[in-house]
Amino acid sequence: MLRRYLARRLVVAIPSLLIASAIVFALPRLIPGDAVQLMLAETSYAKDIDELRAKLGLDRPFYVQYVDWLGRAVRGDLGESLWTRRPVLQELAQRLPVTGELAAYATVVALLISLPIGVLAAARQDSLADYVVRSLAILGLSVPAFWLATLLIVLPAIWWGWRPLTGYVEFRADPVAHVTQLLLPAAILGIATAAALMRLTRGMLLEVLRQDYVRTAWAKGLAERAVVVKHGLRNAVIPVVTLLGTQLPQIFGGTVVIETIFGLPGVSRFLFDAINQRDYPVIQGVNLLVVSTVVVVNLAVDTLYAVLDPRIRY
């Protein structure tokens, strides 16, 4: 049963990937102004533009470029950045861990905040504690992240002469500094996600707590903690996990602001610059990577879902 389900999901994932790759390829090219014009901007002459375009292979027909790219991508060659001429895969390999770590810490922060709060809010629905705690969480997501980050960098410098934790330190160079530098940005990111997760946890838990088997547990006289945590939370976790899964692509784009402000060489900033510069191979490469990762993660989440809840095998 499970295997057939998995196989079906896998087969279904492939067309998703293909559609996505086509979109990935087409979208940047629809944008007016191309990489060559930008590269040669401001001091160039017409002849140079055509020459450079030919050299970069951008004058071939659209579908030729697409097939060429796809063919090489399948073999692991994502091409070279039009601007830096370094291999895209190499650039990604350097930057992905940074964003990944940031996202991981942010998720941990988010979970640490949201789960206890969500549980508390659900268990004490409509009490003062519920209100206060929910207000704080929503406030956390209402304040624009870049504003908060800016304040947290500039004000300490003025008040205490405190140099900001910017300027990326690699793990190899100084493990402790490496981790600490990511804490503030991760906290800011985490706070925003925490609110969404908290709301979901609270909602799901509230729903679960009304279920029959939970009422039975109450009736049996189980301690509140046992009921809430053991029965309630376990079932509420599933949608939370699903939500995390869908948040994944957003992490790749959504950390741009934080990466810019804190000077972290991550994938988001890289992608943002690439879009602005029409660096097609980079845009395509990052998108393809993200899309593939998401499809894989979704598949894993669906599997987890199916394993945990036998009813979901449609």
């Binding site: 014009q37 590269m39 930057r95 002469g161 900001p164 910017t166 300027g167 000077g263 060489p265 602005n276």
Partner: protein
Amino acid sequence: MDLSRRDLIVAGATLAASALTPRSARAQTPRRGGTLSLRLWDPPHWDLDGTISYKTHIAQTFTHSRLVKHKAGPGVAPGTLAIEGDLAESWTQPNETTYVFKLRRGVRWHNKPPVNGRELTAEDVRYTVERFLTVKGNANAYMLRSVDKVEPLDKYTVKFTLKEPFAWFLDMLANPMALAIVAKEVVDKYGDLKPWESVIGTGPWMLDSYRPNIGYTYVRNPAYFVAGQPYIDRIEVTIDEDNASRTASFLAGKYDLGWELPGGINRSDWVQLRDTLKIKRPNLRVVEFPGNVGNHISMRVDQKPFNDVRVRQAMSMALDRKTLVDTLYEGAGVANPPGVPLALKDWSLPVDQLGEGAKNFAYDPKEAKRLLSAAGYPNGFPATICWTTYGSPVVVDHAQLIVKYLKDVGIDAKLDTKEYGAYISTCFYGKFDSLAFGPQTPFLDGDNYLFGYYYPGEMKNQSHVNDPVVADMLVRQRRTFDVAKRRELIHDTQRYLAKQVYYTTSVGTMYTTLSDGALKNYGPNLGYDYGGRLVAAWLDR
């Protein structure tokens, strides 16, 4: 601002600056050693012939040499760009189209493979020029378009033959965007010069390491051809893309020079940080001088309504340049004349010396309305301004103020905001229907400011100017070798352009350059030549 007032301000600033430093810099002997900390940019790659990016060119001024360079040092007035020899010991010009350079002897490449410290020869120069002109994708190749051939006459002599007389040839050679001399073996070994390991030159520092997006480090070249120099042992470069973070770092003492080009900070930041900096970094040296980034409105002078000079005059008179300077730059800005901005002291002309055209630069909305009426637009007319924000709040504010001033005289201009890439591929190169606005590329020579913008058919001729009088003047000044005569020609050109007002020239900022008091024998200037300005500087800490 006229010449005398500007000089006063610069003199005053220098006076104030020297009052901030406890000891006079002139009397001391240079000290070896120390590490300088800078904020610079992350080069897209390291091949100077493959990019126009200032990020790469600035980085190479530390490691490479050119035939000639701009004089640097505290004694050089900012905005003056006198030329002196770098790799060239001397040069002669036997006729209008021939230059013969005598190279220094004993100049050695960095002691890294594959050159391993061998001596530089005329053949290296020839190779560099050839590569510069032929490598695909070198958008700066136009700078040496006039070169016909380059021949090494012997090991230390190089002869350049030009296709036609070009009085600015030496300026082109001195510009950091052009001819940094490279070695053939390095190119052969790496295929091109993009990897950072291929950054091998004859300059005062060597590139020791590079961490993309994070920073890079230069170390002193012990075999540099000027004995004793450089004095500074190490330069740590940090890449920092966020202004809040740069501000905080600077306050905490991290950078020895201001973090923006060319070693300063934005006016708006300066005004806010001034007092805090007095406390946190009391020995900071401040030098202010006009910047060479011009802002102007371009218009389709080949179409109605801008083909009528009265309309163009009206537009220029509509701008209150004094208030613009006060609002945008906290009072530290300049009203530029047409073409060459005031920053280029040797070539430009203050607005009040523009003669008959000077009245077009006065703030006179009543007269503007009268002119519009006379031209047949008593109720003004609608227009569209194509522009992009460049990610700068100052540009955004500038654009909004311009709209307001134009509206005051009846020109209902709507802002057509474009994304940067779209703007560059259209309006920046003249592809617009009504008006366009924005900052312009900062050049270091008078020719680029004029020729590209006013010569018929040039890509950057945004206003579509087609005026035979101007075209003739532009060609003539290119062939006038006598500097004084050329200057006169350029001034005449500016006076004529002031009457025609093909562009509405707006205001530009003053640069506020900052350097740590411990940095001695340093003088800021326009342009990318950080290396040239630091080679004879030393640290006293």
